[in-house]
């Protein structure tokens, strides 16, 4: 006896995509979320790369999700003694194209959860999945914090970096601190005209050698960045939990880096500080190399009755911001396999094995879990060469990023595959870019449900704009 065909644990970015796809296929699907409103525990400086939208779920591409700003340009600034000594803004596309879209997690995850509910999935918020139900090594459901046992044929673990359920099921081990970054984010209100004038449709990075004191040693954490939103900006930076073999005093260092940045860097003091007001300070841990380092890269992403997606599976939020796209890609693949398993009435390991094969064939997921060049910035720490630093940044965050041997490779492969499936795909992409741009200009997006406080499909009820 099962209560649901599929239970998806976690309504962040991946979970609702998997739940929607299962529900669309007619499966009895439950989506569990521990927060009261989906996305309100998701912390991330978020610019979702364009390829998540072009190659990701149809309903996102064809829908009108709440986006904060199209990002058409990546501006790399190189800082010495508080001054910008060089700028590389070669990674740019003309509007209405975009390299990515800035978003706040709460409205975006609520929008995704709404879409799962519209397709017939049941969403249960304020419910923590405490542990999996295990029978002879097979996952048969979850036990909630209310002590309720929910049984299912397939459990999809979309529980994020800490991946509690996959750990308890004995499937995976916790990520190593060497592969994780602790990052801190400051959210500032800024008038839209000021963001438009100061940044336009661009985001900025501030690269510097460690003595500048505005970030972790090169390659050991996210360079200080400023993501730009509609009426706010979202600076953040990070540091690995193990940096050059030691556990850094991150609690002191992260706030100090940002204080130094605010005190020293003219771009901030002159152009930005007079126009902003601090609104929020948050942080989180995210996996940068969990899917890449040998100790954890080959951990299973499936087991008897369970499929693991997104950050929980090590398809990580890397330094390139692939977290959300890879959560979407893996969610769709997991849902496909879950649907096949439920239809056949076989959710054994051998039936779910398909999932691993499919994720490893995915052009972007393969790239995320195999591209060792991401370690390169650490070499610059040894070479100490400004020219090397600028060349490396240009190859990753400049025009070089489109070169074939860097991120051009998965892009080319993904485009080829998309064209094979649908020769008209580029027209759909152009339509999406144009519509997203228009939505942003007119500030019109799909209305959201009232705080996600529902348990049954909405079926055309009036939606309310949440208080965000």
């Amino acid at each position: 006896m099962v209560d649901y065909d599929v239970v998806v644990v976690g309504s962040g970015f991946g979970g609702p995509v998997a739940a929607r796809k299962c529900a669309e296929a007619g499966l009895d699907t439950l989506l569990l979320e521990r927060s009261e409103v989906p996305g309100e525990k998701v912390v991330s400086g978020l610019v979702i790369p364009f390829y998540g939208f072009t190659f990701g779920p149809d309903f996102i591409r064809e829908g009108n999700p709440p986006l904060e700003r199209p990002i058409c340009k990546v501006v790399n600034r190189f800082v010495r003694d508080g001054e910008i000594y060089a700028t590389d803004a070669t990674l740019r596309v003309p509007k209405p194209l975009a390299l990515g879209y800035a978003a706040y997690c709460k409205p975006f995850c609520t929008w995704l959860a709404d879409k799962a509910v519209e397709a017939g999935a049941e969403l249960r918020t304020s419910t923590t999945a405490v542990e999996p139900i295990l029978e002879k090594g097979a996952v048969r459901g979850v036990i909630t914090d209310k002590g309720e046992e929910i049984r299912c044929q397939v459990l999809i673990d979309a529980g994020g970096t800490q991946n509690r359920l996959a750990l308890q099921a004995g499937l995976r081990r916790k990520y190593l601190p060497e592969s994780l970054e602790l990052y801190m984010i400051w959210d500032f209100e800024m008038a839209k005209e000021d963001v438009d004038e100061t940044f336009g449709l661009s985001m900025e990075f501030f690269h510097a050698f460690p003595e500048e004191g505005i970030g972790a040693p090169l390659g050991y954490g996210s360079t200080l960045y400023i993501f730009t939103y509609r009426e706010s900006i979202h600076p953040g930076l990070g540091q690995f939990l193990v940096t050059r073999g030691e556990i850094p005093n991150a609690a002191k260092l992260l706030p100090r880096y940002f204080e130094n940045f605010q005190e020293k860097v003219t771009r901030w003091k002159r152009d930005i500080a007079p126009k902003v007001r601090l609104r929020a300070v948050t942080w989180d841990v995210c996996p940068i190399y969990a899917g890449l380092i040998p100790e954890t890269r080959n951990m299973p992403v499936f087991g008897d009755g369970i499929l693991v997606i997104g950050d929980a599976a090590g398809f990580e939020a890397s330094a390139f911001g692939d977290g959300v796209p890879s959560a979407w890609f893996s969610a769709e693949l997991a849902a496909e396999v879950a649907v096949e398993a439920v239809r056949k009435g076989d959710s054994s390991r051998s039936a779910l094995h398909q999932y691993e094969r499919r994720v490893k064939e995915h052009p972007y997921i393969t790239w995320i879990i195999t591209d060792w060049r991401r370690w390169d910035l650490r070499k610059i720490l040894v070479s100490r060469s400004e020219a090397d630093l600028r060349r490396m940044i240009r190859d990753h965050w400049g025009i070089g990023a489109f070169r074939y041997r860097y991120s051009g490779r998965p892009l080319a492969k993904a485009v080829r595959e998309a064209l094979r499936r649908d020769p008209r795909a580029p027209l759909k992409w152009m339509e999406m870019f144009s519509r997203y741009y228009r939505n942003w200009e007119e500030n019109r997006f799909d209305p959201l449900s009232e705080s996600g406080r529902y348990t049954r499909p909405l079926a055309g009820k009036t939606h309310l704009q949440p208080d965000i």
Binding site: E40, S126, T161, R164, L182
Partner: protein, 90 residues
């Protein structure tokens, strides 16, 4: 449910009673203070060469403490549904 805020970390709310969702197993702790070093919310302190949870009042459930504990002395779980930290600006 009770809602708490913090002056240090604006834009974040802590809801209800999350309980002791992070604990230290004193028999395993060797007092290395890794947890103290990575916790932005100052949840931990060292007393008599052992880490202990001082407060979880400003915890954002990142689990950094759990990851850096070589001795597996930190016990980490999620707070009960609907409790703990939340933000509109993540």
């Amino acid at each position: 449910m009770e809602i708490r805020t913090s002056d240090r970390f604006p834009g974040v709310e802590w809801v209800g009673d999350p309980g002791e969702f992070i604990r230290v197993d004193e028999s395993k702790c060797d007092g290395c203070a890794n947890c103290v070093r990575v916790c932005l919310a100052e949840c931990f302190e060292i007393r008599e060469k052992k880490a202990r949870v001082r407060t979880l009042a400003e915890c954002m459930e990142c689990a950094a403490c759990w990851y850096v504990c070589d001795k597996e002395a930190i016990l980490f779980s999620w707070p009960p549904g609907g409790t703990g930290f939340r933000t509109n600006w993540g």
